[in-house]
Symmetry: C2
Subunit: 382 residues, 2 copies
Amino acid sequence: MTFLRRASDGAIHPGKMARRNAGAVMWGKRDDMIVHQTEPFNAEPPPAALAGLLTMADAFYSRNHGSIPEVDPSTWRLRVDGLVARELDLSLADLEERFPPRTEVATLACAGNRRAELMAVRDIPGQTPWGPGAISTAEWTGVRLADVLAAAGPASGAAHIAFGAPDVAQVADPPQPFGGSIPLRKALADEVLLAWSMNGQPLPTAHGGPVRVVVPGYIGARSVKWVHRITAQAHPSDNYFQTLDYRLLPPDADPTRPGEGFALGPMALTSAIISPDAGTSVAAGPTDVIGYAFAADGRTVVRVDVSRDGGQTWVQASVDDPAGPWTWQHWHATLDLPAGATEITARAWDDAGAVQPESPATVWNPMGYGNNSWPRIRVEVR
Amino acid sequence: MTFLRRASDGAIHPGKMARRNAGAVMWGKRDDMIVHQTEPFNAEPPPAALAGLLTMADAFYSRNHGSIPEVDPSTWRLRVDGLVARELDLSLADLEERFPPRTEVATLACAGNRRAELMAVRDIPGQTPWGPGAISTAEWTGVRLADVLAAAGPASGAAHIAFGAPDVAQVADPPQPFGGSIPLRKALADEVLLAWSMNGQPLPTAHGGPVRVVVPGYIGARSVKWVHRITAQAHPSDNYFQTLDYRLLPPDADPTRPGEGFALGPMALTSAIISPDAGTSVAAGPTDVIGYAFAADGRTVVRVDVSRDGGQTWVQASVDDPAGPWTWQHWHATLDLPAGATEITARAWDDAGAVQPESPATVWNPMGYGNNSWPRIRVEVR
């Protein structure tokens, strides 16, 4: 990547960039975003915007459960409390000055990414029909959550780190601000950041500015935006979005009953076809097929197979080297497409030899999370 | 686990146990081991021996590429060299005295475990037809590889840790002692051991005594037995079993051509049905079905589904909590079996929401590694 100035240690040094902004950072969005809901705002970029390593802020997917809050960076404070030796109360300047800066390229994805394919198997009422675009990648700069926690000194009983935010979700039962938690073990991992910069610019309000959590490899819901409280505790967050929502349930489970299934955290290997566009018409002959694959959880995609005949035969795609352990990887293949209705299918393999499951029926679940089945698109070849 | 004496820190302290043995440790094996080959010795326990958390040494699977060497613990030495600040030459007493003891329960599995199911899809000439028993679990005691490496001081160019052993594999091209490597990052992980004790007893010669490597979460081939050399180097091992064997190849690749596919390291989520025995006859009515599932790679199995109708309908099995991050977990379900030919199928899910792939045809590969498709057994219900 040459588009960001880098020091010899591989990090970029944004200096006081974020602090120069007196107020909340404005945000533009592409005209062709696929808007599923305007309030709360939920939108994904069109497939073509998913083809680069980094997703620009104006195309980065937006997943909100409440109204986007206006948070003034100059008055924002972060409270660190709970099972810690020293409670902290930090300003943005404190974060910048007391801890070493860290930059990391990380892909975030909504647990509901590719839900629309599950809905085609069996309806999932009341849930957003995400296509393959509820996933995006940015270069995040901030500080390591582990460094901030070290300053607070987690007590021996601390096992989970909970995040609090100001955005109130009316959809929650009862209505409450968004929140969630991650295990202490993950919170102490090198890759988890409190980020104030996205792609070298101050973090836009729409994406959690002035400061958000970035938990690479975990479902996007744990990368809490507008974070203002970090609590070390013995148990996972009791927030609605940790205890009831964002759980993977068996097919016949009741999603309103607490304790069903398990709370999602790490994500599973997935992939999607970016081009050609599903449902379009393409000319017969050699056709470029491109897509993304994401091993999440620190793994690497080492192989992607692509089929033009529903999985009867496969060709090997060329897979980009990962830009780091927490990023998606793009792949491309050239398929010689005969005329007629054609299904293009892909499947990714990670470095543990794991492959995506074949069928969306296998992974169907009552809240429509974690669809990582083989992506399939139909095109009319003329 | 109460069968081993534990100190308050959770570790067991075998003291000088291993050193009290003047010669190589003898080894018995169960009469009902399924012996695939006598020289080199390759055998797996019958399914019934897989039902406990720990596998006794006399039932633990044996995967050898050469003759089992006789190594005298009193003269055994470990050389640590390559890209290190200080070369080391350690006796067993040095290992015991210079480094803190570590105990860990870890499951090891051959990359070829469950290969027989792949062979039923398409033949894999010259390979051992492992059933579901090329996997076993033991409590290992030794020292952390990371502590030994820290004593040697890896140089900045070191990226892989290679293991050398004395057992000569005639099957290799050219014939050579067995060896392999793991990335430095994994070698420095807390869980990787140089072990001299297995289930509280001195490590039997048959399982690598006096000292073997134990690399939890990785294919068994990297847990090199009778290790006598550890080399820090910039590149993976150039041993035959790293460069040509133990690779996952695309179906149409030539297994004799170097560089095809990718070298296996971490393992993927798998499971197997232990009871009832495949191919047997069982009485109609409620039937206990038990099995194991192994998430490997530090993950946890959180759900196992079991089907009596080839995957049309599923029931949830009860899944044991993991004994640690590196162990298999057992599960059981009760199926009400109607009379007739019946297929029992299972599929495990890990805490990332990953599920095993459905079909052995999906994972078939020319060397028959990494079969983690849904286990299926047929029984006659009378």
